[in-house]
Symmetry: C2
């Protein structure tokens, strides 16, 4: 079964808004074995919408369209759909009552634009949107099915989960797609490929191996499509195990978790706690950890010591250390890590201090210089990096490297 | 001049990797007046690449293609391009020397896959990639120009800035596009639209107004295309001023900055400093601020007090307050804000405490309950929210609302 996405929005084509919807939709379709073969991002323009729809319905079974259903005047989608599907727009009483209810609940006056949100294509099955005011629509045309959803992420997600995915699941002709994942860290893509080449060469044609690199990490994805689910699964699992055995310490997990999720799970199971002292990463490591539900079982807190006074007063770094070695130094990193571990009373701590740039570099300490210290149960370890990235790239890489070193240390000290 | 993007990568179509390249490319093309009319995201598959290229070259002047040039076996792009453009692959000596140099510099062995990276299409102009090992290519076909770049963001950006944008700038037929932006916060899209409807109705056909919503914010974009740059600019500026006068306190800026950048600039100009006490937002506000170069001139640091012990020991919240009112309460928020302001010695501080979920809610304090306290120069203000989002949505909305309240308070107290 072939699916494709049509994403409508001038704001995406001028680069003002990042499209996170498509990735979410693709991941959720993938989970139920539906392969997305194309995403077409187009402007809020009638002709572009019609051209994209004509192409998509000619080659795909399921078309998911997002965006262009908001209340303001720059949206032309519904008029265009009415023209394309040759179906008039009619008021849906249930949607209208729902929209009115929302405005009453928040005690806000209802505007003519809001009333128009209850208009739907006469031929469409209405996808009732409890998460907002713009209804979705489900339209069958020839052999294709078209789902139309608003672009607001929370509303799109509500409609996908409650209306669209359930309808796709029962369409005929879906083929089983099974996948295994191995998350690796610390080994570059080429070296990884060289190391497992002897396994990859033996993969049958119906098993595909993909390398999905991210900062510091490479995710390996083995996928197979076919009818005999159980046989495929056994074969896939066997190759997965071989690859894991070959890669050993570079394997973080094979359960589709992120590095952060695995770290928190392993620390939780060992009854360990974590505190952070962040300077150049400015709270980003804390954010990566606290994004995860349940992180409070491991994570106690952080001190983001951007200014040197905070390093001294809140972390207990010696003023002499700062004077003698500077804020970006192994010694300062060690005192930050040990200071936060003691003040917050955690079993492990990470400290990160560096120069994220673009300013602040020198010949001895160029922009991108980062010191990481990890205070473990037995001793404190330090790591020096020199990143050649943008400010944000350095923040991300420093954070990921620190978390990678922590997971290695937790595994080493608690095995 | 019509441009479009072809983005290659199975990892995007299964939702494993978020495409941030396209947004960056679109924004940079938009800056030089080139309008992107479509982004086609397709799989690492020869036929899909050929179909996308054939369509794109039939309707666009400039095609930018990213991805599929990595060293591993799941990349088929170069072979496909060789077939499509009917041009053999040849080794480029300069690229080969450069790739060899990189491996020598990092003292790593060179693999056969790496050597193949020096292969380029014979008809292509080679875009030398100092940021990595995969060269870009620039190909003219008929009236279209095709730029081919690797998908690694840092390498794509290097090639865009140094090789691709300079070539596009000198192509004939570019039309002037000018834009003004107004960032608003605190007023929903429909209400904004209603409030400026009388201005919008008077806009001439060649000036377009778009509403670009984000959590808490709506960016208004006025754009005009034409030949008389100066006249257009005057007219655009006049409408922009009218809208700003109408929206008053809801206007954050009109200079394309983010809310965070404007806040930091205004605080820097007033010689003010900032400290944060974050609980449910877990470091995200600190990250939003420290992403910005130069934030150290205003931002002293944060205490991320996830565990109650950190609220008591590092922020000075009374144990009695936690016992009597709970961690998520107005009283705790006030003590957190005043505590961090005093401990870190800042002029302003923000404290945020809430229940991000999915667990931890109760009848009195459901998931999504958030208290924000802002300690200003004259007094401490509090705000209560009830967000109905995902965990991450609540983290983002709580952070944005806190920053919005801070900018209003800084403006009010320092006018």
């Amino acid at each position: 079964m072939r699916a494709e996405l049509i994403v409508i929005g001038d704001e995406l084509l001028i680069g003002q808004v990042l499209d996170t919807n498509s990735s979410w939709i693709c991941a959720h379709l993938n989970e139920i074995g539906v392969q997305v073969k194309q995403i077409s991002t187009i402007s809020d323009d009638g002709e572009e919408i019609i051209n994209a729809l004509a192409l998509a319905t000619s080659r795909s079974d399921v078309i998911l369209m997002t965006g262009g259903l908001g209340p303001t005047k720059d949206d032309v989608t519904k008029q265009t759909l009415s023209r394309y599907f040759n179906s008039e727009l009619v008021f849906d009483e249930k949607v209208l009552a729902h929209v009115k209810g929302i405005f009453e609940k928040y005690d806000r006056p209802m505007l003519p634009e809001n009333i128009k949100q209850a208009e739907v294509l006469k031929i469409a099955e209405v996808l009732f949107n409890k998460a907002g005011t713009a209804p979705g629509m489900w339209i069958k045309q020839g052999k294709s099915h078209v789902a139309i959803m608003p672009g607001v992420p929370s509303e799109m997600k509500y409609l996908m989960e409650h209306e669209v995915l359930p309808r796709i699941k029962v369409l005929p002709g879906r083929k089983e797609l099974i996948q295994n994942h191995i998350l690796t860290a610390g080994l570059g893509e080429s070296f990884l490929a060289e190391r497992i080449a002897h396994i990859e060469d033996r993969l049958p044609a119906y098993i595909k191996l993909a390398y999905l690199p991210a900062p510091l990490q490479v995710r390996l994805r083995l996928s197979a499509e076919g009818d005999n689910h159980q046989l495929l699964k056994e074969e896939l699992d066997s190759f997965t195990k071989e690859i894991k055995d070959e890669l050993k310490e570079y394997c973080i997990n094979d359960n589709e978790q992120t590095l952060e999720e695995t770290l928190l799970d392993e620390m939780k199971n060992l009854n360990l706690s974590l505190a952070l002292a962040e300077s150049c990463t400015g709270g980003y490591v804390s954010h990566l950890i606290t994004e995860i539900p349940g992180s409070s079982q491991v994570f106690l807190g952080s001190i983001v010591s951007y200014d040197n006074s905070v390093k001294v007063n809140s972390l207990g770094v010696e003023q002499k250390t700062l004077n003698d070695f500077g804020a970006v130094s192994e010694q300062t990193a060690i005192e930050m890590a040990e200071g936060v571990r003691q003040k917050l009373g955690s079993s492990y701590s990470i400290a990160i201090t560096g120069i994220a740039g673009p300013g602040g570099g020198s010949v001895e300490k160029p922009v991108g210089t980062v010191w990481v210290a990890i205070a473990g149960i037995k001793k404190t370890y330090t790591f020096k990096y020199l990143f050649k990235n943008s400010r944000n790239g350095t923040i991300i890489r420093a954070s990921k490297n620190a978390l990678y070193q922590l997971i290695q240390l937790v595994r080493e000290e608690n095995k």
